[in-house]
């Protein structure tokens, strides 16, 4: 059963299945998590959705010229956090963030200097999991609760995670959050299509694997109105590759060799 669910979660990244169905097939655990009433398991949904978006390695280019102010960025964060049931914790120490904004000096700490361009200095940068090619978190995880899909997405199995937080120490981008207490009372409006989490597990951005599986772009990309381009980094004909070819882009901490899949046009 456990194995099946895990296989299924992996599959969800590469094949089609709506998130609400995840709750059904995996039985009690997620049904309980999402609060939805469990219907009878239907194994036919494991078949691949024809509309599913697929890639060899998903990646993203964020055009910071088109995201100038906090008000440009907030709808993107809201879109992600709403559909993924990300709670708004009152205690800053217990914050859960999948995608958020940071200043240049924090995002590119090693490139910060006193003469940095005024626009960049005050620009809000969107940051999220980099879905590294060589993810240190996946290496560190002692249970494979965090793993990399064939399409390069770094995912979490919330039901296998033991909450050791080794992945948080391993991540050089601060992209992971831990549920220091039950997050459910802090979710304003629960999206029944996606599981909520319990206390004691780590979570982070999943590149909207559940949306790709049904042919939708990630929520932040959709909300960005063209400021973020998402696509297959290994496909030379993809739009994301075209944008990378036409613009000079930078990545966070390239010296660490993690192979971040998020590129910034600055």
């Amino acid at each position: 059963m456990k194995r099946n669910r895990r296989e299924f979660l992996k599959l969800a990244g590469i094949t089609a299945a709506s998130a609400s169905v995840i709750g059904v097939t995996s039985g009690l655990t997620i049904a309980e998590a999402s609060g939805s009433g469990a219907a009878k398991p239907d194994t036919t949904i494991l078949a691949k959705n024809k509309k599913a978006l697929t890639a060899k390695r998903w990646g993203m280019v964020i055009d910071t010229r088109k995201l100038q102010t906090a008000s440009d960025i907030e709808p993107l964060i809201a879109a992600c956090h709403k559909i993924h049931n990300v709670p708004e914790m009152t205690n800053k120490n217990h914050e859960i963030k999948w995608v958020w904004e940071e200043e240049f000096k924090h995002v590119f700490a090693e490139q910060e200097h006193e003469l940095v361009n005024e626009r960049l200095r005050h620009l809000p940068f969107l940051v999220l999991c980099n879905h590294c090619k060589n993810p240190p978190c996946v290496k560190a995880c002692p249970t494979q609760a965090t793993f990399q899909t064939k399409e390069g997405i770094v995912m979490m199995d919330f039901h296998r995670c033991i909450g050791c937080r080794f992945c948080m120490a391993a991540c050089p981008y601060g992209s992971r959050s831990f549920n220091f207490k039950d997050p459910r009372p802090f979710i304003k409006e629960t999206n029944k299509e996606f599981p909520t989490r319990m206390k004691g597990v780590v979570e982070k951005c999943n590149f909207c694997a559940e949306r790709l599986a049904v042919g939708k772009q990630p929520a932040c990309v959709e909300a960005s109105e063209g400021a973020i381009v998402f696509g297959d980094l290994d496909d030379s004909q993809s739009e994301v590759r075209k944008v990378l070819n036409d613009n000079y882009t930078i990545r966070r901490k390239p010296a660490l060799g993690t192979g971040a899949s998020i590129y910034y046009i600055v």
């Binding site: 120490n93 217990h94 924090h106 240190p136 033991i162 080794f166 948080m168 120490a169 050089p172 901490k253």
Partner: protein, 385 residues
């Protein structure tokens, strides 16, 4: 032999009851944490490991320190240590028990702990750490118990123990090496990313473990009819002297590399710990105290005049033990998280419930140590009497 733990004085029972009460209080706080989540601790998104993991790291050292009596006796045939190897082994057992408990209380989902072995993951250092820690624990229980039993019966221990004894020596080194590898292999954590981390962990282990053992020996001599021996204590003192010098030397090597290279990612953590960063300096007084205590320890231990005076020696051991505890049990772990990889300074201090859970674990360790030492010393008293 277990029956020997049951026959004790009123003081012995009083001490055990006091420890049980402390363990009970700690457990009550743990139940709270279990129900509420790790939010009752001082840990945060930025400082995601705190007091528990720091105690774990320090105690792995104390456990590894036990090998400093095993190695000279079994490899160099240094007979004097034959009298006290059992104390070193039982100290390791008690320390490792606490290590395991500190890992468990640190987990967000402790009931899933077996996932580590249900889904063995060789690329995770934590997987290896559970293996070497459990292996070393088992070796010390078996070797310690069997050798003591043979001693009680007046026979030589069984020959099949010999390979286990030899294996336990590299195992002791491995537990602290692997524990250092948990930290020093992580990209983006400049404070830990140094090849000297494992050697430094071992040096501080061989200082902290034997210095605690000296204090225990001095106590045993006073409280029981078994004298661990002056020569034994003096030899241990020399080991502590070398180890604490090495620990400080390794630390200074690290400081040199960070400061002279001038790479901010490496300097910032040291700056935070010893001078404060962006106006935050919670650990500054602690770190200087730690350095001061280690220097005092070195002066008192290297100088033969002071080392040979057992009263001064005891003070030096307290200084070394406390100094290394602050270094590893306070600074080493949270220091690696401050500043964060995004260069935010989020400070960390353990909360009251966190300290109570910690004291509870220490109480359980002390119970294990008391019972094992009681058995060992009763056997020694039997033989001498």
């Amino acid at each position: 032999m277990l029956e020997l733990a049951l026959k004790g004085s009123k003081k012995f029972y009083g001490w055990l009851i006091a420890l049980l009460v402390m363990a009970g209080i700690g457990f009550a706080f743990y139940v709270w944490q279990f129900n509420f989540g790790l939010g009752i601790t001082g840990m945060s998104r930025d400082v995601s490991w705190g007091f528990y993991i720091a105690q774990f790291t320090f105690l792995v050292g104390v456990a590894a320190g036990g090998v400093m009596v095993v190695l000279p006796y079994y490899l160099h045939n240094y007979k004097a240590f034959g009298k006290i190897t059992i104390l070193g082994e039982f100290l390791a057992v008690a320390s490792l028990t606490m290590c395991m408990l500190f890992i468990i209380v640190d987990l967000g989902q402790p009931v899933r702990i077996l996932n580590v072995w249900l889904h063995p993951t060789p690329h995770s250092v934590l997987f290896w750490d559970t293996l070497v820690l459990n292996g070393y624990l088992l070796l010390n229980i078996v070797v310690g118990w069997k050798v003591l039993e043979a001693e009680r019966n007046g026979v030589h221990y069984k020959s099949w123990l010999k390979p286990l004894i030899y294996i336990s020596i590299p195992f002791a080194v491995s537990i602290h090496t692997v524990t250092a590898f948990l930290y020093c292999g992580l990209p983006g954590r400049g404070f830990w990313m140094t090849a000297i981390l494992a050697p430094r962990f071992l040096a501080s282990a061989f200082a902290a473990g034997p210095s605690l053992l000296i204090l225990l020996c001095l106590f045993v001599r006073k409280a029981t009819n078994f004298d661990p021996g002056r020569e034994q204590i003096q030899s241990l003192a020399k080991i502590v002297a070398y180890a604490i010098c090495l620990n400080l030397f390794f630390f200074l090597c690290e400081v040199f590399v960070a400061l002279y290279s001038g790479i901010p990612e490496h300097i910032d953590h040291i700056k935070y710990l010893f001078y404060g960063l962006h106006g935050h300096g919670l650990l500054v007084p602690w770190m200087w105290t730690s350095m001061g205590l280690m220097v005092v320890g070195i002066i008192l231990l290297v100088n033969p005049g002071t080392r040979r005076n057992e009263g001064v020696l005891a003070a030096a051991c307290v200084a070394v033990f406390t100094g290394t505890w602050i270094d590893k049990g306070l600074g080493m772990i949270s220091g690696g998280f401050i500043p964060s990889p995004l260069h935010h300074v989020t400070e960390y201090a353990p909360t009251f419930p966190e300290i109570m859970v910690t004291l509870g674990v220490y109480a359980i360790g002390a119970i294990v140590l008391t019972i094992l030492f009681k058995i060992a010393i009763s056997v020694k008293e039997e033989i001498n009497g």
